[in-house]
């Protein structure tokens, strides 16, 4: 079965944040061989993928373990600090790994047990629900008049306290946030909006910036009238919608920022 290996290897080695990394000894599976041996490898956990490299500085992973449908458990091995990744698929081989010490072993077991996509998805869904509930109760309590820029349009969830734009990376590609500062800068690092040169607060979401509506005091130049209306309302806080909706504004802001950078602004 083919796999987009080049891209996978690139994901493994690029500077997107690793969830955990360290040396582990990996048991070498040899059939018809009584003596077990271990090879020390550099392991990097990114999401639900566990990569291993020959050396820490290796430019390409030796291998990959997809952490879906598996459990991580301490194992009875002659080695101390050993644990195993076992798959639900009975015939699949297990990976036996040995850490340097108790703390390292515990950290790895913890990180690996929570690495599955489904676990992440569960937590995200739960938080999404919690946020909706928080919004609703907040809305119920809130009595302050709402400044509406156009009739009948529902408010974006967080009104003035909206998460400033710089805390959401400019997500232009799936999973790869780019701030234009060269390469994959993880969310928040070297945020251009945080610099001293921009004294004004981050702009509020562009819900008001339709062709007809405009709010006085908006610090950011208005965008093209093609900017769609915010799909977000109190009742439908959904990151993916916010994400694609902001993505457009962020693309514009990013271009502007890049142009300012070129002109030598701090």
């Amino acid at each position: 079965m083919k796999l987009n290996e080049r891209s996978v290897a690139h994901y493994a080695t690029c500077d997107s944040p690793a969830d955990h990394a360290g040396f582990l000894r990996k048991r070498v599976e040899r059939h018809h061989h009584h003596a077990t041996s271990y090879q020390r490898r550099w392991f990097v956990l990114k999401g639900n993928l566990l990569f291993y490299f020959e050396e820490r500085e290796s430019r390409e992973p030796l291998g990959l373990v997809v952490l879906e449908g598996c459990t991580v458990e301490l194992c009875e091995a002659t080695e101390e600090f050993a644990f195993a990744i076992r798959f639900d698929d009975a015939g699949a081989r297990a990976y036996v790994l040995v850490a340097d010490g108790q703390a390292a072993m515990e950290a790895w077991v913890k990180a690996l047990s929570r690495a599955s996509f489904d676990y992440m998805r569960l937590v995200v869904k739960e938080l999404e629900k919690q946020l909706e509930e928080a919004c609703k109760s907040l809305a119920a309590c809130r009595k302050s008049p709402r400044k509406s820029s156009s009739s009948g349009r529902k408010r974006h969830l967080s009104n003035p306290a909206l998460l400033p734009l710089q805390e959401k990376p400019a997500i232009l590609e799936n999973g790869y946030s780019t701030w234009g500062s060269g390469g994959g800068v993880p969310g928040g690092a070297a945020c251009p909006d945080r610099d001293g040169g921009h004294a004004k607060p981050p702009p509020l979401p562009p819900r008001r910036r339709l062709a007809t509506g405009s709010t006085a005091g908006s610090p950011v130049p208005s965008f093209s009238p093609a900017m769609p209306e915010s799909p977000v309302s109190l009742a439908t806080v959904c990151f993916s919608k916010l994400h694609s909706w902001y993505g457009q504004e962020i693309a514009v802001l990013r271009r502007e920022w890049q142009e300012r950078q070129k002109r030598g602004h701090p």
Binding site: D19, H20, M120, V124, L127, S158, E173, P186
Partner: protein, 149 residues
């Protein structure tokens, strides 16, 4: 790069987020659109010949770009090789847009950012860190801002 193909094959048999028969073209010289069963499972997109049980291939959907091309068509390309596109021609514009949405949300990195976003919003609104109950609030991967290992 070694990988356990068996694990991937097993994953390909799991219930899919989304599956459909779609015309697909791989970024290889001279390749043409072929009907494939395309199946999205976690952050992998598997593609099968329509009458086979085992996939021909899998695409890991991290650091990829999903682009709307012409009508009914979208493409998947990867950060380091943006010109190499896997093209998909759907039966309808609606199906095309649904797939684009689903694929954009299908990466682990996307979920990580969602989680950080929600966490931050909840913290602002309620003053409480929602991750504490899971015992994962200290994990580096969930920290807002600079994400250091």
């Amino acid at each position: 790069m070694r990988y356990n193909e068996r694990e991937l094959l097993s994953l390909a048999r799991q219930p899919a987020e989304k599956a459909a028969e779609i015309l697909m073209r791989v970024p290889k010289k001279g390749s043409v659109l072929k009907k494939r069963l395309v199946k999205l499972v976690v952050n992998f997109l598997f593609y099968f010949r329509t009458d086979e049980a085992e996939p021909i291939g899998a695409l890991l959907l991290e650091h990829c770009r999903i682009t709307k091309e012409e009508e009914n068509v979208f493409s998947i390309s990867f950060i380091e090789e943006p010109e190499r596109k896997y093209c998909f021609e759907c039966d309808s514009e609606e199906q095309c847009l649904e797939w684009i949405e689903a694929l954009k949300r299908a990466s682990y990195e996307f979920m990580r950012r969602s989680l950080i976003f929600y966490r931050n919003e909840i913290q602002k609104m309620t003053g409480k860190d929602p991750l504490e109950q899971y015992g994962i609030s200290e994990e580096a991967r969930f920290q807002l801002g600079t994400h250091k290992q």
